[in-house]
Symmetry: C2
Subunit: 229 residues, 2 copies
């Protein structure tokens, strides 16, 4: 658990193509990279807990990470799921340096860990980096609000249909009509604010709208019908 790794060429490449870093000039990119260290974690490893002192934020290099909050009775609610190229935990820098949620590896992952103190210094000197980070924050904000609206406006089958259509866009650029779910169904259920059973039932309802599922493979024969759900 939390095994330190040497940053290899591939890690570096992924980091540089991240929304956080892709726009930076080469010198600045190198400087930011120097405040990062790469490590691996196993499925279910806790990366940090709500309330803990935030000395780092993270970028996912491979695998998926789950952010969630706990109720007093111990029930969990997912707040977001982040995959390769995405940043998480950065908001704690501006919220009293305390994490406001829990983070857990949903599967074996490799992560880049950034040092908050060093990054904060960079921000005071390099507006270019601040702009990039604001972009990330704004994007996360947009996602979170979209989640709120989605939960409040749409039923389970509608949320699932939306998700499938979104995935269809992002994979194969629209020419293909099938793709692979990027992670476990139970994780997807959490991301959509559903119990696993509800996701399962939603999938079986969508069969009548031209969706077929085998394992993680999804095939969509009638995207129009999905949009009408």
């Amino acid at each position: 658990m939390n095994k330190m790794l040497k940053m290899n060429h591939r890690d570096r490449e992924i980091l540089l193509s991240t929304p956080l870093m892709s726009g930076l000039n080469p010198a600045l990119g190198r400087r930011v990279m120097e405040s990062a260290a790469v490590f691996g974690a196993e499925a279910k490893d806790v990366l940090f807990r709500e309330g803990a002192e935030a000395e780092n934020f993270y970028v996912v290099l491979s695998g998926y990470v789950r952010l969630f909050r706990l109720s007093r009775e111990g029930r969990e609610a997912d707040i977001g799921v982040y995959g390769p190229g995405e940043t998480f935990g950065e908001c704690a820098m501006f919220l009293g340096c305390k994490y406001s949620f829990n983070a857990q590896a949903a599967e074996p992952v490799t992560l880049a860990r950034f040092d908050v103190a060093k990054i904060r210094q960079i921000m005071t000197e390099e507006p270019e980096f601040s702009m990039a980070l604001m972009g990330v924050l704004a994007h996360h904000l947009h996602d979170a609000r979209e989640n709120v609206a989605n939960d409040r406006l749409h039923t389970a089958p509608q949320r699932v249909a939306n998700y499938l259509l979104e995935m269809l866009q992002h994979s194969g650029a629209g020419n293909s009509n099938s793709f692979r779910l990027p992670f476990q169904k139970s994780l997807l259920a959490g991301k959509l604010g559903l119990a696993p059973e509800a996701l399962s039932r939603a999938f079986s309802m969508l069969k009548t709208s031209g969706v077929s599922i085998r394992g993680r493979m999804v095939q969509i024969t009638d995207a129009e019908a999905l949009r009408r759900i």
Copy 2:
């Protein structure tokens, strides 16, 4: 509607004590202020629509503003409610300069409107301002995620109890056990993701936990009982 006003001393004072501006050095504060104009709007006036070109963001000087999204069938879901001293619409600057939600005055309001182009210029030159804006973004992000978790973890009476306890903190610093709701109950219902009827029922359930309501006045006789809900 959208009546332009001259910025008076009081407006200036409120703006300067805002999270967005309170930390800035005087010269920078003046410069930021110069990119703003004050105006008033009536209840239900639309300030901007989802998808519209974002040339401004706003700070509330008085009254409350409602942010919401629309479903295809025309149902509305509130994403946030912002009051005096709070910023909204700033995220659009980083999302292709398109607003991603609708904004509407919930009552007569006065607002400061900031010019995005000028502010963007300031950001490239003044890291101090960027830091402040990142603080605002991070805070909004935190609120939005808290909303998601709240919706998914808590029932209507629990959400209302949470809200009342929060309000009790923020008003009177804890020595008083009563306060006034800052806006209409129907707006509060929307903010909490409830139909007005559900809010009403939640209030009447909370009567047995030492909450009494008359109009907008709330009295809490047993805060401990509320916490246990």
